[in-house]
Symmetry: C2
Subunit: 179 residues, 2 copies
DNA sequence: CATAATGGCCGAATTAAATTCCGTATCAAT
DNA sequence: ATTGATACGGAATTTAATTCGGCCATTATG
């Protein structure tokens, strides 16, 4: 059984599919992870210990990665949000570039397909701090240019939702793909 | 005192600056909000009731917006992440466009400065579902074009961090701005 | 300058919740 | 049919959250 546990860790695959009750549990806990197991159980139709057991399993399997306090950026003096696209010479994922993840202003870092190599989501106190970060980027070998999209207003920002849209409204003029 | 409470709610301003202990508390709770007040207190140098009192205040003031379970996207069948830039004819923030926030695949929605009107962060099961969402966008009046950046790998993705970089490494060739 | 008033803290006590422990039912594989 | 494994519920136990009262420091007030 140790072997199986290791396997789960390595493959980073949930041990088993999340069933509808698991989805409900995730839905509830994404909204508010501070409720008691008694209340959670009531909302999904389980006894407190059963709900507890499910949650433990979801954490063990990695489906629940963490339980975090969601902070208001203004409360920590970070009112400015920006997405920074970075173009690099050659393959961009160098250790030097990765090092910017040490700055707490950098919240996300992805490689993307399209005309850019990397995409950053950064949150700073002001434009001065953003400029500081950009300057830091330009000092990084291989970085040729950046484009920054400064956020004016945020209308929606939420964690990963467990729900999935099963049917997209089919537009009239779309051919049916082969697969 | 009711008036003051209302004031806080309306202005969405923290009642008082977060002091260093508050920052520490936020730092701990962003990493793991499941610890006991006993442990939280120990880590920040307070008794359990004092820590509890601080956390209550942080929640009341809105500094802690929520406590959420962070879900592994793969566990809920959403392995595909993309950022979608939307160009619109005229002012983009129409009710029709805002309505896409009802889809659980849409995690973020911002208006941005730069050559785009809106920026979406979306997470879907596959390219088919992304296409479904894009088709839905093009069916929205005013949308003229979109550009999608599909994420290949995510190297960093974390909630708002309470820490702030106080000193950015000054690049050699940068003039000192007036203010 | 003295003194009330406030806010934040701690220790102890109380209440509530998490967690453990079994016994039981259900389903799958043999 | 029988065994094994899994998930569940109820009751008991342990642990944590929450309340309460008193103390100290800082700030406002006469």
């Amino acid at each position: 059984m140790d072997a199986e546990t290791d396997d789960i860790q390595r493959n980073k695959h949930p041990a088993r599919e999340a069933d509808p009750i698991d989805r409900k549990i995730l839905g509830v806990l994404v909204e508010d992870a501070t409720i008691s197991y008694a209340e959670l159980g009531e909302r999904v139709g389980l006894s407190p210990p059963a709900a507890h057991e499910r949650v433990k399993r979801l954490k063990r399997s990695g489906a629940i990665r963490a339980t975090s306090a969601i902070i208001d950026p203004r409360a920590v003096k970070k009112p400015l949000l920006a997405f920074v696209h970075i173009d690099t010479r050659g393959w961009g994922k160098t250790p030097e570039l990765m090092a910017v993840s040490k700055y707490p202003e950098v919240e996300e870092m992805h490689t993307v397909a399209g005309d850019t190599c990397m995409l950053l989501k950064v949150r700073t106190e002001d434009t001065r701090a953003l400029e500081g970060l950009l300057a830091r980027l330009y000092d990084t070998p291989g970085v040729t240019s950046t484009r920054s999209y400064v956020v004016l207003s945020t209308y929606l920002e939420r964690p990963v939702q467990p729900e999935i849209t099963s049917e997209w409204p089919a537009p009239k003029h779309m051919a049916t793909p082969m697969y």
